[in-house]
């Protein structure tokens, strides 16, 4: 590997640090990061499949829906898509496909078909994410150990099958129900992997090893081209394969302004923008509507639909579908209205409503992400102790998790008002972050201050409304 890193090397670069550099250049780097997660996922799967049928006494459900989910939300901001780096559900099928965990292998398994052109976008994964959230809220997946185990099994088998038919990590990029969510939220990261300098890629690199791979290393498993088109964290899972394969040592990991992708992408796409808007709607508008209407809607629908057996009775499921539909429709509609108003206010003929909609949607991600974090914060502080309970229960009957622990009652770390204070701080922080991103994406000639402010106001108003929805949803318990 050449060691003439050329221009673009700067203080923010993490790959300059000796230990980091040695770690990411290690061919088996990803393998070692996957191993601990793999061990944990196996234990989770076993305990969720055969363990106690109690959502807060089962190790598998608590680790999945509280520890993993919470860790995932925090990890976006710190390290982008790094969960995908350590995710065994993505990694093991990839090892299977290339018949090697890390070394260059001459043989491969599977057909290696290209992923269908029409599906090379985030529409399908966005729809699958909505289905995923619906399964949780309609059928109670996150408080059913068996359904949690089923989900993990379905994802693992699906990923394995897809990797044997299609090339690279087609499942991770185009099919995983979490990929649209993880990808768009990873835009908020303080951390990115990019090429250092455009010159060698353009002028001195006929082989493009970062995309194609070479005799020793694999091309980007996510089908990205770090030497060219990579300009956001949307699809990069930080596997560091390209750091190793680039013959010009032109790839770097570096710190950046938090969430720079939210406003700085040069070609933001509509599919990702709609994914972002859906995530924001699911976090803010849908819970408010559910809080206000779900029980009434269910009793209303009970007059029209067969009763069934709760919790999977048709009236309830239909009510959840309605709340989801109305909430997501309202979110997209409001965003569209704000973009229209903003375009009109800017007085600029150069920008289109669609372009504004796209940029605004990405910039609103912190408003949604902070609400998801605030939801979890409440649970973490108010049912503190459950993690040690389930761990001790697991140890009593490892790894089957069939023995009920002597349960300490849920203990608070903080009172409800103090938790609300923290939630408010989080939500206002998310609002401020989104506003800063929106301010940077606002259209209009930068010199014209008045039209800049004018076009900013409508979308800032929407960011405020979405934050108010969260503040009041979370505050309703205090009233």
């Amino acid at each position: 590997m050449s060691t003439t890193p050329g221009a673009g090397l700067d203080r923010r670069e993490l790959t300059r640090l000796g230990p980091v550099r040695r770690a990411v250049l290690l061919p088996s780097f990803q393998f070692w990061t996957v191993l601990p997660t793999l061990a944990l996922v196996v234990v989770v799967l076993v305990s969720a499949a055969v363990g106690l049928e109690h959502p807060s006494a089962n190790f598998g459900t608590v680790v999945t829906w509280i520890v993993w989910w919470g860790g995932l939300l925090v990890s976006f901001v710190l390290v982008g898509r790094a969960w995908c780096l350590v995710c065994p559900i993505g990694a093991i099928p990839e090892w299977l496909q290339r018949l090697s965990p890390w070394w260059g292998s001459r043989y491969t398994a599977g057909l290696g078909l290209p992923w269908p052109r029409r599906l090379r976008n985030l529409w399908l994964p966005t729809a699958l994410f909505v289905v995923f959230v619906f399964l949780d809220n309609g059928y109670g997946m996150s408080n059913s150990p068996r359904m949690t185990a089923g989900l993990i099994a379905v994802l693992a088998l699906g990923a394995a099958w897809v990797s044997l038919v299609f090339e690279r990590r087609a499942f991770c990029r185009y099919l995983c129900p979490l990929t649209a969510f993880i990808g768009t939220c990873a835009l908020t990261s303080v951390f990115e992997l990019r090429r250092r300098d455009p010159a060698p890629c353009r002028n001195a690199c006929p082989t493009k090893d970062c995309y194609r791979g070479n005799a020793r290393r694999y091309g980007c498993p996510m089908g990205e081209f770090p030497g060219g088109g990579l300009e956001s964290n949307l699809h990069c899972i930080l596997c560091t394969e390209c750091v190793k394969s680039c013959p010009h040592d032109n790839i770097a990991l570096r710190w950046r302004a938090p969430g720079r992708d939210l406003w700085a992408m040069s070609r933001p796409r509509l599919d990702g923008a709609c994914a972002a808007a859906v995530i924001v709607g699911l976090a803010t508008v849908v819970p408010l509507l559910a809080l206000a209407f779900l029980p009434e809607l269910r009793s209303l629908l009970a007059r029209l639909l067969p009763a069934g057996v709760p919790p999977n009775d048709p009236p309830r499921l239909a009510a959840v579908v309605l709340v989801f539909g109305v909430g997501l429709g309202a979110t997209l509609g409001l965003l569209h209205a704000a973009s229209l108003l903003s375009r009109w206010a800017s007085g600029s003929a150069r920008v289109t409503t669609r372009a504004l909609f796209t940029r605004y949607a990405y910039a609103l991600i912190p408003v949604g992400l902070s609400k998801l974090l605030a939801d979890l914060l409440d649970h973490a502080f108010r049912t503190w102790g459950v993690l040690s309970n389930v761990t001790s229960a697991l140890l009593l009957d490892f790894p089957w998790n069939r023995v009920m622990p002597e349960r300490a009652s849920a203990t608070d770390l903080l009172g409800p008002l103090a938790v609300y204070g923290l939630q408010v701080a989080l939500l206002l922080g998310g609002l401020l972050w989104s506003l800063e991103a929106l301010r940077r994406t606002a259209p209009g000639p930068a010199a014209d201050r008045a039209s800049g402010v004018a076009s900013f106001l409508p979308i800032a108003g929407l960011a405020l409304v979405l934050t108010l929805a969260s503040l009041w949803t979370l505050g309703s318990g205090l009233l």
Partner: protein, 169 residues
Amino acid sequence: MRPVLRALLPTAAAVLLLALGIVWLAEGPGATASPADAPTPGTTREVAIRAQAWGFRPRVVRVAPGETLRLAGISEDIQHGLAINDLGVNLQLRAGQVARSPAVTVNLPEGVYTIQCSVFCGLGHASMKAKLVVGSPRAAPGSGAPWIASLLGLAVVVGVAFRAGRPRG
């Protein structure tokens, strides 16, 4: 400044309208549940609480200081929990199965305590709360908090709006 005013008026009107809608949604339709029966001191009273995604009925449970209770919870849909941390109660609720707590004596100072779902049950879990009112305390201390938070949110927007439109770099 003309373009700013032109954008400000419809925006402010829309935000105001939507904000009123939000307050109504958070407080209005879901809050219609009735309080539990009046306490009868000296006996163990069973308080029945129904849980659904996402809320409890009743939303307010009134008890006398020193009263002895038994909580009987049931879920109307997916699994939930019924926890009153201050009383050390934490029940698992399933659809169609009544879960009863042991008898607990409310040795708490007069005040408002939180009844909460203790199972991470989805998008609305964080607002799945009810109140245990012991005695007849004055207004709950938290009732003004969402208003204060909303004003802070408005202040954040106004602050950033003043920065908007500056040359970007």
